[in-house]
């Protein structure tokens, strides 16, 4: 098999963005965090954590949401979405880990999380779960290149352990997606009342579930366009209907949470927090919810792309609002991300998209691309996991 592809203009654009990010990353490691980033004593996390880790993990939820939809809820119609979703999950988590290596002050000590146990720490739980889940994703996805390589014995092992591993992945996702929210419950004195809630763990979990199908739809549309196949509009319309439910339920949950804990006054106070909140709710939830309720938009590529992009942007803004924008420490202290911070995160994101595009052109990831599908390998006949309906025998 060939691992080579012909570079298109968007491959080259992504490589250019990666190069810029790499330069800033080099400066960060050569001269320390302070020269590249604006994070400071009052805002020790900033854009790197808000976008590069928290948002990446949230949209990486696409892996477990689509897997759960197909394998656990048994909606096998969507089995062709599982492979792209697992690969996206794998790349999102790898991006988050890469970001962590740049963002940590002492990245060479990161293994301490696995050695020096701290069960009272939400971050410790996130670290363990994310580490285990990354392993799960790698084991799940490894079947795809192995199929292409025809390594029958390794495939047999992976398929034998697929079900317990898949269940472990979905369970771990529930735990660490919510633990990221638990982490933020510790600082009610810093986060604006619009976002700080006892229920942040549930808000983070549900918004990750909401981001999942949205990213799956966007990916399918993008892949159809750039890899050249006809999008399965019937399936997308079905996913969009599920997504409308998820967005509507999340909107109801978040607003209910605000009223229940008596923060409704803050909804209409004159402050930038309020503006950021209504942008998040209005453009990230209400507008896409209305769009997805319209059947003709659920069946249009542009309608779906708009609604799902808004949802992803809304999840990004929710994470930023909780972890950066909604934070007020003392009135004289401020934070705006630096060019270096943004460039490094964009570089990592570009790398993830580049690797996805590369693998999508050499491996059987999209069923819609018949020339990449491997011939039925002896090992693939028994139980083809990661294939949903087909795989069950």
């Amino acid at each position: 098999m060939s691992w080579r592809i012909r570079f298109t203009w968007w491959d080259k654009t992504l490589l250019a963005i990666m190069a810029v990010g790499a330069i800033f990353a080099f400066v960060r490691f050569a001269t320390g965090i302070g020269t590249v980033a604006n994070i400071n004593n009052a805002y020790p996390w900033g854009w790197w954590v808000g976008y590069g880790i928290m948002t990446m993990i949230a949209i990486g939820g696409v892996g477990f949401t689509i897997t759960a939809l197909v394998e656990i809820l048994g909606v096998h119609r969507y089995h062709s979405f599982v492979r792209p979703a697992v690969l996206m999950g794998l790349l999102c988590y790898t991006s988050a880990i890469t970001m962590l290596m740049v963002e940590l002050g002492r990245p060479w000590m990161v293994w301490m999380v696995l050695v020096s146990w701290a069960p009272t720490s939400a971050l410790y739980e996130v670290g363990w779960c994310a580490f285990l889940y990354l392993t799960v994703l790698a084991l799940e996805f490894a079947q795809v290149p192995l199929e292409r390589l025809g390594w029958a014995r390794a495939l047999r092992i992976l398929r034998a352990i697929y079900i317990p591993i898949m269940l472990l992945g979905v369970t771990l996702s529930h735990l660490h997606q919510s633990s990221l929210g638990t982490l933020m419950t510790l600082i009610p004195h810093k986060i604006n009342v619009l976002w700080w809630s006892d229920n942040l763990p549930l808000l983070f979990l549900f918004s990750a579930m909401m981001a999942g199908p949205a990213l799956a739809i966007l990916e399918h549309l993008a892949a159809a366009r750039w890899l050249g196949f006809a999008p399965r509009m019937d399936l997308l319309a079905g996913l969009a209907r599920i997504e409308a439910w998820l967005v509507g339920l999340f909107l109801a949950f978040q607003m209910n949470d605000i009223f229940y804990r008596g923060a409704a006054d803050a909804l209409f106070s004159a402050s930038w927090f309020t503006v950021s909140f209504w942008v998040e709710i209005g453009f990230g939830l209400m507008l896409p919810f209305v769009l997805l309720l319209m059947p003709e938009l659920r069946e249009s590529r542009n309608g779906l792309a708009t609604a799902c992009s808004l949802i992803i942007a809304g999840v990004l803004l929710h994470r930023l609002n909780v972890a950066v924008i909604g934070l007020r420490v003392r009135h004289w202290e401020t934070y705006t991300p630096s060019i270096g911070e943004v460039a490094i995160t964009l570089g990592i994101t570009a790398a993830a998209i580049f690797v996805f595009g590369w693998l999508a052109r050499i491996l059987p990831i999209h069923e819609e691309l018949p020339h990449l599908q491997t011939r039925t390998h002896p090992a693939a006949q028994a139980a083809s996991a990661l294939r949903g309906a087909e795989g069950v025998s």
Partner: protein, 269 residues
């Protein structure tokens, strides 16, 4: 020193006795080997210099201009790690690099630190600081001179204070002493001990002649330990894991059984 007989220590910071000489800041820098730094005057409330704690300043006397009686007067306040009874920073640390010792100090072990800065984010008093310019950054904050306490000495700041504004001893005794001072001189003190109940109690107890928010203290903090906020979720981790795994496994089993039936029906109509 981890015997049950060890009594946790505490410090009274009596701001009414402080004359703003900043000997505590000098002694602190000296004991902790912190370099001198260039500072600039800033606009805003407070006239101290530097404005805030940082990686080179583990304690700070704040200079506050307060109108007491007929004319403005200097009222001093002090910032330093409060050494909480239930430290949020330690509960947030994913590697136990931040922890509380039996004697009371909340200390930092750089050999376990990964540099995630969760402790800085977690601290309700905004105390831990970072040296962002360093290649191997460390968390910087007051150590309660844990190394001095271990050998029976008092913290450097308490040792040098010329006016008795800093008193060091067993926490029980310090609480009693703080209450006694307020009771015997009600005109001098506001009837409040900052740190007695804040976030579940701290090892530094502040006394003041004016409300604490006027001299730069963070007020309105909960009276319950901060780690409770995350603990009520985290303690459910193991049961939730077990329940979710079982539920998902059962659903998956049902789904696969249904698929098998459909398939066999399809083959043998």
């Amino acid at each position: 020193m981890s015997t049950a007989t060890v009594k946790p220590k505490a410090m009274i910071q009596d701001n009414t006795r402080c004359i703003g000489c900043r000997a505590c800041m000098v002694a602190c820098k000296s004991w902790n080997d912190r370099p001198a730094d260039h500072t600039d005057f800033f606009a805003g409330e407070g006239y101290q210099n530097p404005r805030d704690l940082d990686a080179n300043n583990y304690t700070l006397i704040t200079f506050n201009e307060i109108v007491t009686g007929a004319q403005p007067d200097w009222v001093f306040g002090r910032q330093l790690c409060m050494h909480c009874e239930h430290p949020a920073c330690a509960s947030a640390c994913p590697t136990t690099a931040m922890f509380k010792t039996d004697l009371g100090p909340v200390v930092f072990d750089e050999s376990r630190c990964i540099g995630c800065r969760a402790c800085m984010q977690a601290c309700p008093f905004v105390v831990p600081k970072y040296d962002f310019e360093s290649f191997a950054p460390k968390i910087h904050k007051c150590t309660f001179c844990a190394d001095r306490l271990e050998v029976g000495l008092e913290p450097a700041c308490a040792k040098v204070c010329p006016t008795g504004a800093i008193t060091f001893g067993d926490r029980d005794d310090m609480v009693a002493e703080a209450k006694r001072r307020i009771a015997t001189a009600p005109g001098t003190y506001i009837p409040e001990i900052y740190g007695l109940e804040e976030v579940g109690g701290t090892s530094v107890l502040h006394l003041s002649s004016v409300p604490f928010e006027k001299i730069g203290y963070r007020t309105g903090l909960p009276k319950t330990p901060m780690p409770d906020l995350t603990h009520r979720w985290l303690r459910m981790t193991a049961p939730i894991f077990a329940v979710l795994y079982a539920v998902f496994g059962a659903l998956n089993w049902i789904v696969r059984r249904r698929m098998r039936h459909q398939k066999s029906e399809g083959e043998h109509p």
